[in-house]
């Protein structure tokens, strides 16, 4: 079944190294994708079973080893059933990724960041809740469709107007693509991450949820505390100042410039 170490080292030519590197990249991306989701616990269980299988074989526990072999026969079907939401999300991400990303002008990115941060800081001072998703490589069309299309050039006034408490579009999130406010009053998917702070409200959960489902940067202003937070890749950074937000957004959106 296994080769010995000396034979393995002998076999390590450039093709083998490339194969291992590709395998490493794929496995790492899968782990990164599953990190912070409920699937991690299932993955741990699977790893324990695989280790047990090899241990049983090594120790000569043939009955247990046979049982696990039979179990592995159904394993592929089980994986498809258990990881169905993650697999679907992964395939959607793979399909949506632009292999030749649409590049935005540096000035447009900077203008967009400036307008967003100005609006966010102002709303933070007034304790007005806000939820702004900035699209990156993965399109947010499905999210934008759930709201009202605006297709307006971005400005801090427009953003503040949208989130003004009695305004018709203040509920939900805004989708920004480049220097355009695409849509307002959009429904963002809520995060199901069990490790999220229980005190977080729906707005923050929606921000984390969208950042889990896409590569978007989601800016949130808390209605209760006026705190500015940023969700990227399922991670929420809270208590940011205007300057922090500018620096982080510039760093995140830089490659598009």
């Amino acid at each position: 079944m296994f080769l010995n170490i000396q034979e393995f080292i002998r076999l390590l030519d450039w093709k083998a190294i490339i194969e291992i590197l590709i395998l490493w990249f794929v496995i790492y991306r899968i782990f990164l994708f599953l990190k912070g989701t409920k699937a991690v616990y299932l993955l741990r269980g699977i790893i324990i079973l695989v280790i047990s299988f090899f241990l049983f074989q090594k120790l000569g526990f043939y009955v247990l080893s046979w049982l696990l072999t039979k179990f592995f026969a159904f394993f592929l079907i089980l994986i498809v059933i258990i990881f169905q939401p993650e697999l679907r999300e992964g395939l959607i991400r793979l399909g949506k990724r632009h292999f030749f990303p649409i590049t935005l002008k540096k000035e447009d990115v900077e203008k967009s960041i400036k307008e967003i941060v100005t609006a966010v800081v102002s709303m933070s001072k007034k304790r007005i809740g806000a939820l702004i998703a900035i699209q990156r490589e993965i399109g947010l069309k499905n999210v934008a469709e759930t709201g009202v299309y605006l297709n307006a050039e971005i400005s801090s006034e427009i953003l503040e107007n949208i989130f003004y408490p009695s305004a018709p579009l203040h509920d939900g999130g805004v989708v920004v693509d480049g220097k355009t406010v695409v849509s307002a009053a959009c429904l963002f998917p809520l995060s199901e991450n069990p490790n999220l702070d229980k005190t977080l409200g729906m707005r923050h959960r929606a921000a984390v949820g969208l950042s889990e489902h896409s590569d978007a940067c989601v800016v949130v202003v808390s209605e209760e505390t006026g705190t500015i937070s940023l969700a990227v890749g399922g991670q929420l950074t809270r208590g940011l100042s205007g300057e922090d937000l500018v620096t982080i957004l510039k760093g995140l959106l830089r490659r598009e410039g």
Partner: protein, 51 residues
Amino acid sequence: MKMKKGINSSIFKMNIKSAILNNFWLKLISLIIAIITWFYVYGEITKGIRI
């Protein structure tokens, strides 16, 4: 000029360091699993050829 070069090289070193240390355990475990998988599959394939 010399100072700028020094700053650039230290930024480069910092970037490499953060690229390695960021999710270090995840990267290490992935590498180990990748090697084991390759090792196992290659063994299975060559066993099939030998038979």
